[in-house]
Assembly symmetry: C2
Homo-oligomer: 421 residues x 2
């Protein structure tokens, strides 16, 4: 274990090398980046036994330290996990390169031609918890988008992450790229996170992935921009003019397809005029799945449910629990969303053009939907190919963040000797 000064010095060295590598990456062709990704995939495939042996050390230590079984499970590198990492690298290699894309070129009256070129952000720091496959996801997205990456995984996964880092390093070398393009932080000292998030000279953006506590602490303490989302309190609103079969399918899917995910519905809003028709059907289906229902008074006049409190409207359950509120109008539904939503994803079920248009225009969330399950709010479903996270902020990236969210744009000007008069 390094002492505090050494950690700061070590992280500054990591940062300096990342910055230098990011300059090299910005001038690297798409072909070379893809070559590195495919070489990493080959290295993982060739080193399965070593990866699993190193992972076993983490699993043993986890069990010895009394880590919960669910966490040990997330930590495990099974053969299928390694298959998934290899497949992920190949998929990212196959995605179009966002860098260098030139858009919006137009001539100005002065004779200059102005447009924008997409460019990497520079150096991306990723802080994540125990799942070691995130190491490959993050490395591949950063590399493809032309960014150097500094990866700080959970200390429980340090042996696994070091073994994965060796494969990444060899893949980079095979393609002729500096190993510092992707660095895995080699110390488990927590001070390393503190350094990583306060080095704006070396790091351009931080992406934290993990529990709300981790993300809140990082956002509070970082002096570098953070791409993050804290909560996913997503709503489905069943409008008076909803097709009730669609409403049933969407409200059931949005809650029960997976419980522990940020794009699951946590509160169902139902227009009073259709509540008596749709709620009993839905309650029966939810009950069959063991979903606990908590409702407002009007809801409880129709179906069995516990009384919902103000806290329920503001809670991301991530569990088989659903809050239900009956509202008198679209305006009341949107007011509820404006007050309680975490601005992640909201969906209206309606056949009414004007109400759908109002909902899409006025609801201020990173994803707003008509007649679709909130579960679609992710990078793969949106066609980004992969995602490094979902942002509920409005500055820079918003919603699912793929390769484009890891880039910026610069203005480019083509002239013919023009001067300003």
């Amino acid at each position: 274990m390094l002492d505090k000064v050494s950690v700061t010095e070590y992280m500054a060295q990591v940062g300096r090398e990342a910055r230098a590598a990011s300059r090299a990456l910005a001038a690297t062709s798409t072909g070379v980046k893809n070559e590195a990704l495919l070489a990493m995939a080959r290295e993982l495939d060739a080193n399965r036994a070593h990866l699993m042996a190193e992972n076993e050390k983490d699993l043993d230590a986890g069990r010895a330290n009394g880590l919960e079984e669910a966490l040990v499970d997330r930590l495990a590198l099974k053969p299928q996990t390694i298959d998934g990492m290899i497949e992920g690298l190949r998929q990212v290699a196959a995605l179009p390169d966002p860098c260098g894309e030139i858009t919006d070129m137009s001539f100005r009256p002065s004779g200059i031609q102005v447009g924008k070129m997409r460019v990497p952000l520079g150096v991306v720091g990723i802080i994540y918890e125990s799942r070691p496959n995130v190491t490959i996801d993050a490395a591949s997205l950063c590399l493809k988008s032309g960014n150097a990456a500094i990866l700080r995984g959970g200390s429980e996964a340090i042996h696994s992450n070091r073994a994965i880092a060796e494969c990444i390093g060899r893949g980079l070398r095979e393609a002729g790229l500096p190993e510092a393009c992707v660095q895995v932080v080699q110390t488990t000292d927590r001070a390393a996170v503190g350094s990583l998030i306060t080095m704006p000279e070396f790091v351009d953006v931080i992406v934290p992935r993990g529990g709300k506590g981790l993300i809140e602490r990082i956002s509070r303490e970082a002096s570098v921009p953070v791409i993050k989302h804290l909560d996913g309190i997503c709503h489905v609103y069943i409008d008076a003019k909803a097709d009730l079969d669609k409403a049933f399918a969407i409200a059931f899917n949005a809650k029960t397809h997976r419980y522990g995910v940020c794009n699951a519905m946590e509160t169902l809003l139902v227009d009073a005029s259709v509540a008596a028709d749709i709620l009993p059907r839905l309650a029966e289906a939810y009950n069959a799945e063991g979903v606990e229902l908590r409702g407002c008074d009007k809801t409880r006049a129709i179906i069995d449910a516990q009384a919902a409190t103000d806290e329920d409207w503001a809670t991301e359950y991530l569990a088989p629990i659903l809050a239900i509120r009956v509202v008198d109008s679209l305006d009341e539904a949107m007011a509820h969303i404006a007050r309680y939503s975490s601005q992640h994803t909201e969906s209206i079920v309606t056949e009414d053009y004007t109400r759908g248009r109002r909902f899409i225009t006025e609801v201020d969330s990173s994803s707003v939907m008509i007649n679709a399950s909130t579960r679609f709010a992710d990078g793969f479903e949106y066609g980004l190919g992969a995602e490094i996270g979902i942002s509920t902020d409005k500055i820079h990236a918003r919603g699912p963040v793929g390769l484009e969210g890891l880039t910026s744009q610069k203005w480019i000007v083509f002239g013919d000797g023009q001067i300003r008069h």
Copy 2:
């Protein structure tokens, strides 16, 4: 003067009202926003005498407090300044509304249709120094982009800004919009700035306009994202394959067109193979304008110049001073830029396709040009219609920031009852 607690409470009140107004603005049509802008223009025109009388109070106080004559001059609301403000409002009204623009709609294999809609950021805080016309610039750009604005001008301009704020308020009322859409902070207490930049619950982004000290302090202390630029250390590189007539015109214009602006050239880089041809011509022209030259040894072997130090390469003169360095290659020029540039604007003068392409691709600045004067790097010249500032950051807005830079995008999904399988 309010006491500290009162300032915090006052600013929280301003913030709360701005947040509420921003919700109303997000649902306001383009026509109503334009009506408000034109009504403000009429109000300014109808209240010229009052505006100038209030401005006179600021000018008197400034002179009494020993304000420098140049600052008193910037503070003055002359009839032409008011003409300019009125014209500016009309121009912003004529610009297209960025909000609601839907792009990239495409069908996904699941049957959902996914795209993006441009939306306001929410509440924008602008902190600026004494020029009162910034009040109108900032108010109009924020309003048109659908954002509520909190404007904190210099205390020297408080009477002028209050008088302008009254015109803005009446314009908003005439169009049926809440006056809190644009609020001018009514206290000159410096604690108001401290509050404004640490209310993420009420303010989405801060745009500071002023000296480097002000901007550095705000960036350091803000808990809200800041759109800023600190320095404009811009370079022109005259390549070996430059057309020397274009090189002469561009290098002369970029330095001498205006000295005190961020997009003026501060360092000229000249390829060694053309230095003896171009430098004497340029030196003669600069000397005729009274521009002081500071050069590297190779420069001083060709023309008269003071010896440039390392500090010269890192200085934004904002004055008739120019640093000149002779380099041996494009790589040496780009290495100098990577080390010393403030990432604002750089231009290469060349007829060589491959070198131009490399410069455009590899130089990491907010504007990168071929054969054009760095002086073009501004919102009007780029066709943005107006600009609220220039950003040298890579997160969110970069380069000249117009209406689009004051907006974000949300994902929108149109479905037909789709659920996730």
